[in-house]
Amino acid sequence: MKFKKVFIGVFALLIAGIFCVSSVQAADPYNLGVALGFTGTGTLYSKDQMEGIQVAVDEINKQGGFLKQHPVKVFQQDTQTKPDVGVRTVKDLILRDKVRAVINDYSSAVAVAVKPICREYKVIHIAAISNSENITKINYSPYTFQVVPNSYMQAKAASYAVAQLAQKKGWKEYVTLASDYEWGRSTQEEVVTDLKKVAPFLKVKKELWPKLGETQFASFVTSIMSMKPDFVYACLASKDNVTFTEQAKPYGFFDKIPYVGSMQSVTELITEAKTMPRGLVAISRAPFFAHMDIPMMANFVKNYRAKYNGKYPSDWAVMGYDAVYALKQGVEKAGSIDNDKVKDAMKGLSVDLTRGKLQFRPIDNQLRCSSYVGIVRDDPKYPFPILAELIEIKAADSERPEAEIVAARQAEKK
């Protein structure tokens, strides 16, 4: 009984104490918010990105911070990969921690929900993992920037590569296997549309839609194998792709049916080094090995490995690093940390990043970055397989034409 009293008393005090938690920030530091899905499906990618961001912030702070006078202070929150939690945590970062920019999210659904919040509070919003085209195509916000090749660009790049392969190998029919969620759906739709244009001789035999987070793929494996298509085009979410690959291997799936289009970021190449079937035709967003000739990338890889026990940076770490540096260059162009000036400066800005000198396209704030397609193969330089015979498909060849974007925006206004 007494324990109960004490407990309740402490509890009540705790609650009262919450009011006393204040967070007044001096005008000097640049508060950077990182709201990613640290719990949920995106945990691994989010943690990787946090590491990349940290390397960038450390480097910048060594020089004194943004404009050499505003040290960057990072505030981290977990969006739990849920849109309403994402909205709440971003509000928290903006109102309590007074962040000026937020890097968000793993999930496109969360990023899209956070967009209007950042716009209302005039906070810069950079998407560095999720890549749904909807983040930039419609509901344009001058505060939201995308440093990842978006779903349209990736799909177009993939179709370009697939069309070439199909011609070479005489493929005719294919099956699509896409995770039933926004990214999976939009990517699959794009690919099918593109392939109709660039490889009209190809026909879709069947569309399969496993649910996101599917753990039992056996039925899908057997049904595909029974259909005997010339190849499978896959748009599975990363974890599901692993599950599928593991479950399909014992059926001899990969010996019989070419598996094309899965996204194998450096994360997958490293974690599945022992088990990934070699010869997969995979697509990637920001593999470090594609740009080791660029000094900024080589430097980043060196610093990252030094900080994290020789680990190689994944695509998410690279893009987190790029996001911070893009922001830095925006601040430098604006000459101030005032958000409205920075957002105006960043519009159409060309920035020097690990992936080269790239421009933010003015019409949608999409970074004109490349997509990468290659064949999974071992490489003596690294303890994991990489994408060999790498084709870098530049933004100019894969971005959506501006006219279509204008049309889409007019359509949604109605």
Binding site: I15, V87, R96, A109, N134, E182
Partner: protein, 330 residues
């Protein structure tokens, strides 16, 4: 006791809380105004849930379905048809009530754990429909661009608006619980068999109650959409259905304001804890265990046992904290 005095005494707690709620935005920062808006909306949700739980003695683990239906109704009406918010709120109550009518018709044939599981199954059913109907609801992407009218755009404005709606809702709910209908519900809770014997059509009462609860859950959901500027299928998940259960248990299911107080504590805790750790499930799980094991009857149950709220109805009903009547329900 003087009639006027006892009236004031009886309502001193809700009046006090309302007064505090009124002046809150004047003393706390904008972030906390957002948190309090969330608290009162979820509090209404929990209070509506409690109609079925505390007052009728059945555990519904799927009320989030009606909350979600309400949220999506308002969302869809505002985004696709640009209806004003004043029309959307009652519309949400109607759609949520309809949903509760259809699904509740089946639920009220069951009791105890079967009732709980069926409500959960129906909750998942609604979740998957919203999730899969990509073309209409936006699927897992949710619906964005739910913007409240200009005069409600600012945090304080929306807070007061929500406060007004929630207060009206709570007052209506209170009248329902204190009406003969409400007392019949308590009789059903305390001894279903006997209530049948005196000629009450228990199933019909349960269904009516289920629909009322659904309507107010829908109203809460309707407030949520414009507040958040978006809705997502997650609002219907079984995990979300668990929140009002926890709030009601924590605040005390046998006091009308219990669920609202539970919402205050739970939401506060959530906002506070997620500020410095990613292990919120761990913390919330521990808190849940402590509350359930050590605080039966919730916060109000403990306060009541000290005799702070001596009203005639408490003594007459012989309400024991944690007692939901029929212990033999299987």
């Amino acid at each position: 006791m003087d009639k006027k005095n006892s009236f004031l005494k009886r309502f001193r707690l809700p009046a006090g809380l309302f007064f505090v709620a009124l002046i809150l935005p004047l003393v706390v920062s904008e972030f906390w105004v957002h948190v309090f808006t969330e608290i009162i909306i979820l509090g209404l949700f929990a209070a509506a849930f409690n109609l079925i739980f505390g007052y009728m003695g059945q555990l519904s683990f799927g009320q989030a379905a009606y909350y979600g239906i309400g949220a999506y109704t308002t969302g869809l009406l505002m985004v696709k048809l640009q209806w004003p918010i004043f029309v959307c709120l009652p519309a949400s109550m109607i759609t949520a009530g309809l949903g509760a009518l259809i699904l509740g018709y089946f639920c009220v044939k069951l009791r105890g754990i079967y009732f709980a599981i069926l409500t959960m199954a129906f909750g998942q059913f609604v979740f998957f429909i919203i999730f899969q109907w990509y073309s209409f609801t936006g699927g897992d992407n949710g619906l964005q661009g739910i913007n409240p009218p200009m005069w409600l755009f600012k945090a304080n404005a929306y807070y007061y608006f929500s406060l007004a709606v929630v207060t009206i809702g709570m007052v209506l709910l209170y009248f329902i619980t204190e009406s003969p209908f409400g007392y019949t519900l308590k009789a059903i809770r305390d001894n279903t068999e006997r209530t049948e014997f005196i000629g009450i059509n228990v199933q019909r009462y349960m269904l009516i109650n289920f629909v009322i609860s659904g309507m107010f859950c829908g109203l809460a959901g309707a407030l949520w959409g414009p507040f958040n500027r978006s809705v997502a299928p997650d609002l219907c998940s079984w995990q979300h259905s668990g929140h009002p259960v926890f709030m009601a248990v924590m605040g005390g299911p046998h006091h009308f304001l219990g669920p609202m107080i539970g919402s205050v504590i739970f939401t506060f805790l959530n906002a506070f804890v997620t500020g410095f750790t990613e292990y919120w499930p761990l913390v919330s799980g521990l808190v849940m265990i402590i509350v359930v094991l050590l605080m039966p009857g919730g916060l109000f149950g403990i306060i009541k046992s000290k005799g702070y709220f001596e009203t005639k109805s408490v003594v007459l009903e012989g309400n024991n904290p944690g007692d939901t009547g029929d212990k033999n329900n299987e």
